[in-house]
């Protein structure tokens, strides 16, 4: 093995290690989801959705963006939210779930979002 080959191997190992560390940190972060719901402008509706989502076991934090019609749901460590559960909660609040996606932690926190 010459010096150049040795250096390339070290570089590859370093990249692989970095990827593992990044993946581990993402997996260890609390699961976060973005829900899209129309008609959130009225607090009678937005509060209803917050109330129903808060009742789901494992929900840690909700951030409602009334103007964008989105709710960011952050779960407690180790907890997850499935689409069917989210859909049921939104339906019980009198609305239809128009979108459900898992997002990176911190994503979706934009101007106008309300934490609770």
């Amino acid at each position: 093995m010459n010096f150049r080959t040795f250096t390339q191997r070290i570089q590859r190992m370093a990249i692989a290690l970095s990827l593992v560390l990044v993946a581990t940190s993402v997996l260890a972060a609390p699961a976060t989801y973005r829900l899209h719901v129309d008609g959130l402008a009225c607090p009678f509706c937005a509060y209803g959705i917050e109330k129903k989502l808060n009742a789901i076991e494992g929900v840690e934090l909700l951030e409602t963006n009334i103007k964008e019609g989105t709710v960011i749901v952050t779960m407690k460590d180790g907890a997850a939210l499935d689409k069917a559960t989210a859909k049921k909660a939104v339906k019980e609040a009198g609305f239809t779930l128009n979108g459900f996606e898992r997002v990176a932690p911190g994503d979706g926190q934009r101007d106008g979002a309300h934490k609770q």
């Binding site: 402008a41 009225c42 607090p43 009678f44 509060y47 209803g48 109330k51 009334i66 103007k67 009198g94 309300h114 609770q116």
Partner: protein, 329 residues
């Protein structure tokens, strides 16, 4: 021959479409009365988004009594009190479930010097003294008699009886002063546009005769019953059957109602960014407000209260401020 027939069919179809449009327009005009009063003029506004004194995060309810304006600063979990010029005086409450704490306070009512606060998250009515002391709590979570599922508004009769708009309960409950159930309008948990039923009721108000006015929020109408529970009348759009619209006398989600000193009813017309004023029999008198962020403009009118001199205070929801209006003279 085929071409002539096709042309004729198109002409007939065109005539039908035009007729339908003309009839619809005529119908809207017939159901949209003109103003009968000079209207109101903007005086001032106060507040901005925040959590400090005089700032708001979702002002969702308002009441005026004894020269003070009470505001349900909902997402901040507190009540803020101002003088009639908007100067901050005091505040009480914080987010939570314990006595003295608030879970999304909604439409407010003052009766005999006490402030009645429906709590959307805590499913209860909490009664405060004017200094912010929590005096008693009425109701609990549930769909049983005397229980609530997101109460949005409350009215109190001269005899102390309570009338509560139970938003997800799809009913208005009449309760004794201690919260004991007397009766209800609407079928628990079931939406309907029939008389005496609701599509997410938001608020209740009483006139001087004890008649009960109920804001049928997403039913886009107001229903009125006498003190014995008998249906009197309803209004809001064609036949008051839930059709929303921007015309005079129509609603696009009515979120708050309150009586003025002359006995006329004011309604916060949320998605139309305005306040409408009616006689007790539902005759449209006037309206004010339009969408915007400037002086006299609203980003969703959610709650209304009227002082003894006729001054109107409006919670301007998404602008996070309170507006003050006077009748034009």
């Amino acid at each position: 021959m085929t071409m002539i027939k096709g042309h004729t069919v198109l002409k007939i179809l065109g005539s039908i479409v035009i007729s339908v449009v003309v009839l619809a327009a005529a119908g809207c005009i017939a159901f949209a009365p003109s103003a009968k009063e000079p209207g109101y003029e903007f005086v001032k506004a106060w507040g901005e988004k925040g959590s400090g004194p005089g700032q708001f995060s979702d002002p969702t309810g308002i009441a005026v009594a004894n020269g003070e304006v009470f505001v349900a600063d909902s997402r901040n979990g507190r009540i803020q009190v101002f003088d009639l010029d908007g100067n901050f005086k005091r505040q009480f409450g914080r987010p939570g479930k314990d006595p003295g704490e608030l879970g999304r306070p909604m439409n407010l009512t003052v009766h005999d010097g006490e402030l009645y606060v429906p709590e959307y998250f805590n499913d209860r009515i909490q009664v405060f003294g004017p200094d912010g002391t929590s005096k008693r709590i009425i109701g609990s979570s549930g769909s049983g008699p005397g229980q609530f599922s997101a109460p949005g508004g409350v009215a109190v009769g001269q005899n102390g009886k309570l009338y509560v708009a139970d938003f997800y309960g799809q009913r208005v409950q009449e309760l004794k002063p201690d919260g004991a159930f007397i009766r209800q309008w609407g079928t628990t948990g079931r939406t309907s546009h029939e008389v005496g039923s609701f599509y997410y009721p938001t608020d209740v108000a009483l006139d001087h005769k004890g008649n009960i006015y109920m804001a049928d929020g997403y039913g886009n109408r107001i229903q009125v019953f006498d003190a014995h529970g008998n249906f009197l009348r309803k209004w809001g759009g064609p036949l008051a059957r839930g059709i929303w619209g921007p015309f005079n006398g129509w609603f696009k989600t009515v979120t708050s109602i309150a009586f003025g000193p002359e006995g006329n009813l004011f309604a916060a017309d949320f998605y139309n960014d305005r306040v409408q004023k009616f006689t007790p029999d539902g005759t449209f008198l006037t309206s004010f407000g339009r969408k915007g962020v400037g002086p006299g403009q609203f980003d969703h009118t959610i709650a209304v209260a009227i002082a003894q001199d006729g001054t109107v205070f409006v919670a301007d929801f998404l602008n996070n401020r309170i507006q003050k209006w006077w009748p034009k003279r």
